[in-house]
Amino acid sequence: MKTKNKKSSETGFFATLFTVSNSGEPQARRDPTWMRILLSIIAFSFLFGFLFVPLIAVFSEALSNGWRVYCALFIQEDALAALRLSLLTAAIAVPANVLFGVAAAWAITKFDFKGKSILVTLIDLPFAISPVIAGLVFVLIFGRHGWLPEQELGNFLAPLAALSRKAADAGFFEDIFRALTSWLDEPRIIFGVPGIVLATIFVSFPFVARELVPLMQSQGRDEEYAAITLGANGWQTFWRVTLPNIKWGLFYGIILCNARAMGEFGAVSVVSGKIRSETNTLPLHVEILYNEYNSAAAFAVASLLAMLAIVTLGLKSFVEWKTTRT
C-alpha cells in the first residue's frame, strides 16, 4: 500500500488516503529497513484482520446464495420499511442537530457568557453515556410509570389536538392535520417513531458541535469583527463570513452525525419495541433477522449499512483532502 509518490506537491485525493511518505528524508533520519517492514506488516495485518475481513465476510455471506437472492432479500417489505424508517429518522435528527450544533458552536466560540463551560460539558454528555441508558431515559420519562406518562401528555396536548382538528375540519391540509390530530389524541412516544427520533437525536447530537467548536475557535473572532465594523449585521456576518469559513467542517460533522443516526442500535432498541414494518430501523432489523437464523437476509441488510459506512468514509476522506488543500 506504500505508494511511492511521484512528487509530494502532487497531492491527489487517493494519494492522501494512502501516503506513507518519507522518500525525501535524509538517510540518518530513517528507521532501519527491517523495522519499517515489520511495523508495516503489523499495521496492515491489524487493519486486514479487524476491518477488511469482517467487511468481506458481510458481503460474501450476503451474496452466498447469488445475486438474485440477494436482491430479492432486499426488496422484502419489512426490509424496505426498516430502510424508510432509518432514512426518516436521519432526515429529522440530522437537520435538528445541525441547527443545534451550529447555534451552539457559534455561541460558544464567538460570544462570552456565563455557564459556557457547562454547555460545553453538556454537549459531550451523549458520548459519555451508554446508548442503552440514553434510550432508557426516554422510557423513564414517557413510560407508563414515568414522569410524564403518555396519557398525561395527551391531556397536556388536548388543546393542540382541538386546534389541529379544527384545521382538519376546515379542510386546511386535511390529511396532515387529520393524522396529527389522531396522534395528539393518543400520543405515543415509546414504542413509536417519536421515541426513535428522540433517542437518535440524543445520541447523535454532539457530532456537529464537536466538529465545529475547535475549528471556529482556531479561526478566532476577528473576521466577524471586521464584518461588523464594515456595517454587516449579525445575519449577514453569519451567512457571508462565518458559514463559508466552516462549510467543510460542517459537512464533515453532518456526515458523521448521519452515520451515527442511521447506525444507532442501543438507544433505539430500548425505545422502539421492534414492531416489524412499523418501528424497526435497519440495525434492529438486522438483529431480528439474525435471531430468526435467517442469516443470508441479515447479512444482506447488514451489507446495506456497510455500504453506508464505506460511502461515509469516502466522503470523509474527500472532505479532509479538500480542507487540507484550502
Binding site: 473576521e223 469583527y225 471586521a226 461588523i228 465594523t229 464594515l230 454587516a232 449585521n233
Partner: protein, 352 residues
Amino acid sequence: MSITASHISKTFGDFAALDKVSLHVPAGKLVALLGPSGSGKTTLLRIIAGLEMADEGSGHILFGNEDVSLLPPGKRGVGFVFQHYALFRHLSVAENIAFGLRIRKGPERPSKATITSRVQELLALVQLEHLGKRYPTQLSGGQRQRVALARALAVQPKVLLLDEPFGALDAKVRRDLRRWLRNFHDGIHITTLFVTHDQEEALEIADDVVILNSGRVEQVGSPQEVYDRPATPFVHKFLGNVNQILLPWEGIIQGTKVPVEENVAFVRPHDIELLRPETAQPGALATVLDLHAAGPIAKIAAKRTDGRGIIDIELPRAYFDQLNLREGDTILLRARLEPVCQTILVTKPPMT
C-alpha cells in the same frame, strides 16, 4: 473628523484595564497610542471602534461633535485594521475590498459598476492593482495589511483605527510599510489612531504620541516632546534607553540642587560624557566592563568605583575610536546637562 474620548473606564472582573482615560485626536492627524503590552491600548481602540463597550456611565466617545458611544460599530463610520489583518479567507482581494459596499441594502448600495470602479481605485491607492483576483493566502504579510487597509477605506470611514498594524511583519517590511503609511496618510489626511508597543515606530511616523501605562495616560505630545521632556519616570524608561543613577550622584551630576529625600536621577546614555581620569575635571570614576563598537554608535558599560551600579554610555563611533579604550580602564563620567534637554528627573520613591 476628530476623535475625543473622555473619562473612559473599562474593568474586566477586578482588573481595571482603563482608568478614566481621556484622549483627543485632532482631525486629519496621525496619532500613535503607545504603551507596553497590558497597558490597555488595544482595549481603548476597540472601545472607540465600538467592538467593546466601556463600563456603564464611564464616559463618552465623540467623532467630531457627534456622540457615538451608544452606536454599534457598523454605524460609527470607523475603518478598523486588525493586527492579523482578519481578511475574509474565502473571498478574493477584490471581493474583500467590496464587502463593505456589497452588504449595504436598498438605495445605499452602489451599483455593481460603481463598486467595481471603487475597488479598482482602492487597489491602485494601496498599489496592488494587479492582485485583485488573488486570495489572502497567496499574499505576503505586507500585501495583506494593505488589502486590509483598502477594505477599511472602502466604506469611506470618518476615522481610521489600526491595531498594531505592523506587529506581525518582519523588521525590514515593517520599516518600509510604516514609511509607506506615513506618506499614504499625508496623501489622504484621514484622522488615524494606531496602536503600537514599538516606541521607534510611534516616534517615527506619528504627529502626536499618547503614552499609556496600566490603564492611564502618562503623557501626550509630539514625538520630540515626549522623547526630550518625559513627564514621568515611566515615559523616561519606556522611550529609549536610560540610566537610573542612585544617590549619591555627586560628581556625575554637577550643579543641580537635589532635595535629599529624592534618590534617583534619569540620564540617557548619550547624555553621559566620558573623559580620561587624567583630565582631573569633576566627575565620577568608573571601570570599563564591556565595549560594543558594532555600528555607528559605540556602547560602553562602566561600573562606578563607589559601587553604586553600572552606567551605560553611548558615544559616536569616531570619538570612541579616538579614546582607544580597553576593558578594565578607569574613566571619568559626568552628565552633560543642557537646559533644553531636561534629562534629569527626580522622584521620591526608589524606582525599580
